[in-house]
Symmetry: C2
């Protein structure tokens, strides 16, 4: 029974990886940088995306695929800030996005007019770590209200990510949160992790975040 | 392929439900009330448990089974506050506790000396909603830093829970969080939900929480 389940799971993952590989090639051919945003529920990644869309949506040709278990709340929030395409995926109870859902969502997106794609995953620090969506890199968003040990408790996610955003730093004066300890824990899990400190609410740290995004986007080649 | 996966999943769930039923009968026979604490990462459920153990550990004969993906950090934190048994389960990457893990953990717990059992689930608002652990009831813990729409975005969890704890209310003066809206959203998903407002850090609201727990525990029958 256990062996059978693992077998099925491995076949599902293998199929996902094939689809993710195809997405990665398609995005590379179109010159699109794609970030898979992963986080716990309530880390503020939707607000971070709202601010990012407002500031850089037109400049960097941003498109968004946003996944949610049941609602399209996030997509509605994001659409208020951009004329760029926001594509909603409702997983219908599933705890992560998979590559087949991204393949479908991409069919509605004009990649020729897109340079930066955000995939906003389901709020969950466990399952999305295992599912490749063909992204350029995973960015894990966590917040100063969550405790410094989150990187130790969800190590796979912090290892799979190339970048981390520690959000809600405007709340630091009201918390007993040790930023240095949190960053040390994150780097203990993944020495190569680049960390940003932000407050999507106050705007603190967003200048560096925006500069990073501008650097990640491929230059437009004028033919 | 898809059909096969669903079949396997249904058999796994059915097996889990059989084990959960056996746990439920065992706990009922022993006169133990069991709460399955579910939450997103960083909602403060471990601190709530620490405070609860310190205040009621001896009085109510509390035992804890705490689940985590990789670490035993939570168990170590909890053990500092009680001489009562804390049993750690490391799921090894899995996103939820299941009934077979609880069955194993219970083997190390003296149920005759236990009246209240907390099962601290993996921090995840999606997957643990589907796994019955033989508990008396699920209690969903969320926090005022997470956004008022969490009940709408994770409806299954709020429907499966009988009680909700909205934690970190000491931070309300520093946030744009609408408590009434959050509670209305929670009740829209589950009209029968009883909600507690707490701050495990400041202690606000813990008196009502402790009173509730005292009421949930079965009286000791002197033979």
């Amino acid at each position: 029974m256990a062996v059978r389940t693992i077998e099925i799971r491995e076949r599902l993952m293998a199929r996902n990886d094939v689809l993710a590989g195809a997405i990665r090639r398609r995005l590379a051919d179109a010159g699109v940088t794609a970030f898979n945003l992963v986080s716990s529920p309530g880390s503020g990644k939707t607000l971070l995306l709202e601010r990012t869309l407002r500031a850089l949506g037109e400049e960097l040709g941003v498109a968004v695929v946003t996944g949610d278990v049941q609602t399209v709340n996030d997509a509605e929030r994001l659409e208020r800030h951009t004329s760029r395409l926001v594509q909603a995926v409702v997983t219908g109870g599933a705890c992560h996005l998979d590559a087949s859902q991204i393949t479908e969502a991409l069919a509605a997106i004009d990649l020729g007019a897109t340079r930066l794609l955000f995939i906003e995953n389901v709020g969950n620090l466990v399952c999305p770590a295992s599912w490749d969506l063909g992204e350029t890199a995973k960015i894990v968003v966590f917040s100063v209200t969550e405790g410094e040990d989150k990187p130790l408790k969800y190590p796979k996610m912090f290892r799979e990510a190339k970048y981390a955003v520690l959000n809600k730093i405007d709340l630091l004066p009201h918390l007993d949160f040790d930023v240095e300890l949190a960053l040390a824990n994150a780097r203990a899990m993944n020495p190569g992790l680049t960390c940003f400190l932000t407050s999507a609410r106050s705007g603190a740290g967003l200048d560096l975040w925006f500069r990073f995004l501008r650097e990640q986007v491929q230059p437009v080649l004028v033919p």
